[in-house]
């Protein structure tokens, strides 16, 4: 299972539309979730609409959260997305076996029990990768401590799963001139050795959300190319409901 979690507090203003980029992620099998962090102010009509559309195009969900609720919101979204991803796969299986919509609700309660047991097992044991994409434009500066705390807290939850969970962290705009995004932390299963996630961050004005998303998708692709022919990434192959 692959997820991108975008944490932002405003509207994109440079390059490709992030909604288009999110649609590309989804077609690559990556779900895109978006958190709009607000403290006091709000994202404005445009910002609020944009995060909704990005999540919609990316097959994920969007939420507004204050810095205080950030950890909890990030946890909840990641967990729910895992459940939903599995639900979609199971639904497809049910549809081919039983016809109809394939919705779990169509089954009588006794039958649901077994299906949900399998889903819970998959949710706990399948391999999960989450790439965090952090908006580091100037207005995010006072929120970065809360962002880092939320990332560490997410890692703690993911480490408690039975399946392998990996996390990577990007911020945008990137450090170099003209860079859309910079990689802060490559795929890892452990953050305990990492002192600070964003040690020398230069906060800049532009918000190239779309191009940054594309870069994360590329990063996923690079990983998958290296793996092709090796171990299988598909999580459901062994299970038929």
């Amino acid at each position: 299972m692959k997820q991108i979690l975008l944490i932002t507090d405003g509207c994109s203003n440079v390059g490709l539309s992030p909604v288009v980029a999110a649609a590309q992620a989804l077609s690559d099998g990556i779900t895109v979730n978006v958190v709009g962090v607000l403290d006091g102010g709000d994202l404005g009509e445009y910002g609020a609409k944009e995060i909704q559309e990005i999540a919609h195009a990316g097959g994920g969900m969007s939420r507004m959260a204050s810095t205080r609720q950030l950890s909890q919101t990030v946890q909840m979204m990641t967990r729910k997305t895992v459940v939903q991803t599995i639900q979609q796969v199971v639904q497809k299986e049910l549809k081919s076996v039983l016809g109809g919509e394939g919705a779990i609700e169509e089954l009588p309660p006794e039958k649901r029990s077994e299906v949900v047991r399998v889903m819970d097992e998959l949710g706990e044991t399948s391999k999960l990768r989450v790439a965090l994409l952090i908006d580091a434009s100037a207005s995010m500066k006072p929120k970065m401590a809360a962002v880092e705390e939320a990332i560490r807290d997410l890692m703690l939850s993911l480490q408690s799963r039975q399946g392998i969970s990996e996390l990577s962290v990007f911020h945008f705009p990137g450090n170099g001139h003209g860079d859309d995004a910079s990689l802060d932390l490559d795929w890892t299963t452990n953050l305990s050795g990492v002192q600070s996630l964003f040690p020398k961050l230069q906060m800049r004005g532009t918000t190239p959300t779309g191009p940054a998303l594309l870069q994360v998708i590329e990063h996923y692709r690079g990983r998958d190319d290296r793996r092709r022919g090796g171990e299988e990434d598909g999580m459901m192959s062994g299970y038929v409901v």
């Binding site: 779990i104 949900v116 408690s160």
Partner: protein, 300 residues
């Protein structure tokens, strides 16, 4: 309002709402002159996964004479929208703070002990309760305690399904979020601190940087409460994950209870004999001696 199950056609008359959990709302209902609790879920998968836990517990718990889970079905609203629900035993009781406020803090040790016993029943079957918090505990007559809302119950070794920050071991930088017996006992410890140091606990969590949260801070708060002071050693062990399970922890808890004497306030009733009893004793033994003396002399 009457709810009729879509599959099994059982009818329930709704009396009132009892509460709201993470997975849905719970109502008090009546069927065949019997009061039951009915939980309506917003999401079929989430609710079913909770039902699966209850069914597994039902299968294993030989100690429960009365069934806990009564029915599982769906209901259809007038608008055509369907919701899953299940029906369970109705548990009467009040939350612990209200119970202790009404009956007195002297009921704390026994209520705590009974709560550990409830947890022990789960641990014995290989589950952690997970989301142990004030809202999920009901206390009744004589310190009887029941757990409600099984949405967080997680088999040992898996990641805790639901938790609430301040009770969470990970939040206090004291361990993982993987299910084990010690996870529940940590939450139990926070619950004790919350019972007697609620304001100080909230002040602490609001004003502390995440990386500085630690069980030591919880122990410091506990040491400032006269009710918790006797349990300081127990709490330290619980926060350090030092108990094998809730049964183990319950045995240690009851040792503390015996030491402080749970019947009354601090040590009075089990202490020395009051002065007037002694005086009465002396007086009556004096009288006895006199009678004996008179009898013996009379015999002679």
């Amino acid at each position: 309002m009457v709810i009729t199950g879509k599959w099994r056609r059982r009818r329930y008359r709704v009396e009132r709402m009892l509460g709201e959990g993470a997975n849905g709302k719970v109502y008090l209902v009546e069927r065949d002159r019997r009061l039951l609790a009915l939980k309506v879920g917003a999401d079929t998968v989430d609710l079913q996964s909770e039902i699966n836990v209850l069914q597994a517990l039902e299968g294993r718990a030989g100690s429960r004479a009365e069934p806990f889970l009564h029915d599982v079905d769906d209901l259809k609203l007038a608008g055509g929208k369907e919701y899953p629900f299940y029906v369970m035993k109705y548990v009467r009781g009040t939350k612990l703070p209200a119970f202790l406020a009404a009956r007195g803090a002297e009921w704390f040790p026994i209520a705590g002990y009974n709560l550990l016993q409830r947890l022990a029943e789960l641990h014995e079957s290989g589950w952690a309760f997970g989301d142990l918090k004030m809202d999920n505990i009901l206390a009744a007559e004589y310190g009887h305690v029941e757990l409600v809302d099984y949405g967080g119950v997680t088999a040992f070794g898996k990641s805790i399904r639901q938790f609430t920050e301040i009770y969470d071991r990970g939040y206090w930088n004291a361990g993982t979020r993987a299910s084990d017996a010690a996870y529940d006992l940590f939450s139990f410890g926070v619950l004790c601190v919350q019972l007697f140091q609620e304001k100080a606990l909230y002040r602490h969590t609001a004003g502390t940087l995440p990386q500085n949260r630690s069980p030591q801070e919880l122990l410091k708060l506990a040491s400032e409460s006269p009710e918790l002071r006797p349990f300081a050693g127990w709490l330290e062990r619980a926060f350090a994950g030092g108990f094998r399970n809730a049964e183990d922890a319950g045995a240690a808890w009851s040792v503390v209870m015996r030491r402080i004497g749970t019947g009354g306030g601090p040590k009075k009733r089990t202490g020395a004999v009051p002065g007037w009893t002694k005086a009465l004793f002396l007086l009556s033994s004096g009288a006895l001696a006199a009678v004996l003396y008179w009898l013996l002399l009379g015999q002679g």
